[in-house]
Amino acid sequence: MEEPILEVKQVTKLFGSNAELGLQLLEQGQTKEQLAEKGITVGVNRVSLDIRQGEIFVIMGLSGSGKSTLVRMLNRLIEPTSGQILIRGKDLLKMNKAQLREVRQKRISMVFQKFALFPHRTVLQNVEYGLEIQKVDAQSRKEKAEQALELVGLKGWGDKMPDELSGGMQQRVGLARALANDPEVLLMDEAFSALDPLIRRDMQDELIELQEKMKKTIVFITHDLDEALRIGDRIALMKDGSLIQIGTPEEMLTQPANGYVERFIEDVDLSKVLTASHVMRRPETITLDRGPRVALQLMRERGISNLFVIDRSKRLLGVITAEDASEANKTGKALSDILISDCPQVPPDTVLSDLFEATSSTKVPLAVVDEQGRLLGVIVRGAVLGALAGDVGEMEVKQHELHS
């Protein structure tokens, strides 16, 4: 496990005049409502989490859950009432103004819900802003800004004013402005919420692509579960200022921590979230140096009609059927003669909705293979429908090799 880039430790934010009292009351286990009666609003309630290098960490919750407050404490736009925030081990809350500015200029950039572009500056000048205030010379900041614009697909739009651009393009400018500083961490506060659904989808895809290219650490705030599941490597669900559950999208869906999480995920379209790796089973395999007789024997034992053939490093070579094996047994052919090498294969992150067609058009089970061509599991026809009916609990193949 990599060292976390941001560590949030027991961070609390209370609004109101009597924060000291509020902290004590929270420690005594009083609820948000009880504190509200005393005129203290709980923004964030003792949240602890680690954000790892290079991941997209989604903080999700409904409005009023404290997610926007939490993300603003990560760059101290809002001062926490208590707790610790470490960036690469350094305490953000102990920094003086100059050190904090340095962090904001070079290490943590932010993208805003309503874009927050400066309307009096051109697109290029907007992107240059972060470099300009660092007093980077005009030539190199222009180059960097143009690179950032190119990265978000807005090459040649630099001379336009922000209000001449569509919403999606404006947010690309917002993204470019944040990337131009080459920060380690991007904070994205409901960055796509103001966009049309279709454009939002595109932006999500591009963000994932960008992140793969640039390996930034992204903290993404959203109230939209589908968005969280689509882009998040890990998701933190918040309610009333408290953290309810942290986990991968799969964990949130398959092992909800409590009833609140369950209700939250109730309406999710599972076919777009669950992937091949969720529904695959352990494959029955054989290596090529065995004979047809062994293969037949194995199939009979397991009650199946085909076997996947792999080499010693578990790479998939193909599939053999019971019919062919019994034929080969009679005629004395080897396994390699009856191998069907063009059997259907899918990568483990294929979503279920893309598996329907593949499973219905083939006689043999679908092989799930990784990038090296190694066989991870198989998907039998009924498993896809079973999973959609909520039957992912068995999940016997919580394959360790998948996550290693």
Partner: protein, 280 residues
């Protein structure tokens, strides 16, 4: 209420004015010299070219700033003033207005910014501005004369007191109107307070601030007749003289000159900043 003795407010004020006069006399004298020389410089500058040359210069400026109607109005209006024989007086008045306009902007914008940043300052400044705008001008004209003696300087001071409030108020408003998201963005990228002010807040507040400056110039122009009562030279003095001598026709002529100057100044200040905005 007779059991409460009358508060001797009048005595207090007189005492304060006396005290200021005897203790701060040197300061007022120095200030007076500076203001007087600024007004004289502008009057000299405006009277330096021949009226026709001046009119051509203003015509070209009007054309550059904006529109042909403004150019026509400027040229015809100024020609009329020259024709009626009020050129020198009008230019003296322009010098006074420009001086009090500059003083108002130089003082007003920082005060406006300060009151936008500090609630306490705003709480103190705001009623003070009400006071300055509603207190009849004659009331502070007298102490102004005591401090600065007769002439153009108390006129400038009275104009500034009367005319500075819109600049302060609209600077305050302009900065307050800058959306919280934008100042937050400026902070999030690590701007210093000065960078935030000069790169984000002031540019965005500029149109509102300029509406204030425009109002300030109009108000200080409206003070020229009152200023002439304490010896400020210019077209205001002509109006004042004509009215006291019941020369209705002459009073009307001179009044027309004020109107022409007012409209030209108003359109100039308005359009100047619009065209700037377009160019940015």
């Amino acid at each position: 209420m007779s059991f409460i003795p009358k508060i001797p407010l009048a005595d207090w004020i007189e005492y304060i004015v006396d005290w200021m006069e005897s203790n701060l006399g040197g300061f007022f004298e120095g200030l007076s010299k500076i203001i007087e020389s600024v007004v004289e410089f502008f009057s000299w500058l405006f009277l330096l070219p021949h009226p026709l040359l001046f009119i051509v210069i203003f015509g070209v400026l009007a054309y550059l700033i904006g529109r042909i109607p403004l150019t026509l109005f400027t040229v015809i209006g100024f020609l009329l003033i020259d024709n009626l024989g009020y050129w020198t007086e009008t230019m003296n008045t322009l010098g006074l207005v420009v001086t009090s306009g500059i003083i108002s902007v130089v003082l007003g914008i920082p005060i406006g910014i300060w009151s936008a940043y500090s609630k306490t300052t705003h709480r103190i400044v705001s009623p003070l501005l009400d006071f300055m705008q509603t207190m009849p001008a004659f009331v502070y004209l007298l102490p102004a004369v005591t401090f600065f003696s007769l002439g153009v300087v108390p006129g400038v001071i009275a104009s500034v007191i009367f005319a500075i409030p819109p600049t302060i108020r609209l600077t305050h408003l302009g900065i307050k109107q800058v959306s919280g998201e934008l100042t937050e963005a400026a902070d999030a990228f690590g701007s210093t307070s000065w960078q935030k002010l000069f790169k984000v807040e002031l540019p965005l507040a500029m149109p509102t601030m300029m509406a204030g400056v425009n109002q300030t110039i109009m108000l200080s122009l409206s003070m020229v007749v009152i200023a002439s009562m304490i010896g400020a030279q210019g077209i205001g003095a002509t109006v004042y003289r004509a009215v006291t001598q019941l020369k209705i026709g002459q009073g009307f002529e001179a009044g027309l000159a004020v109107v022409v100057l007012a409209i030209v100044l108003d359109r100039f200040t308005q359009n100047l900043f619009k065209s700037k905005k377009r160019g940015a």
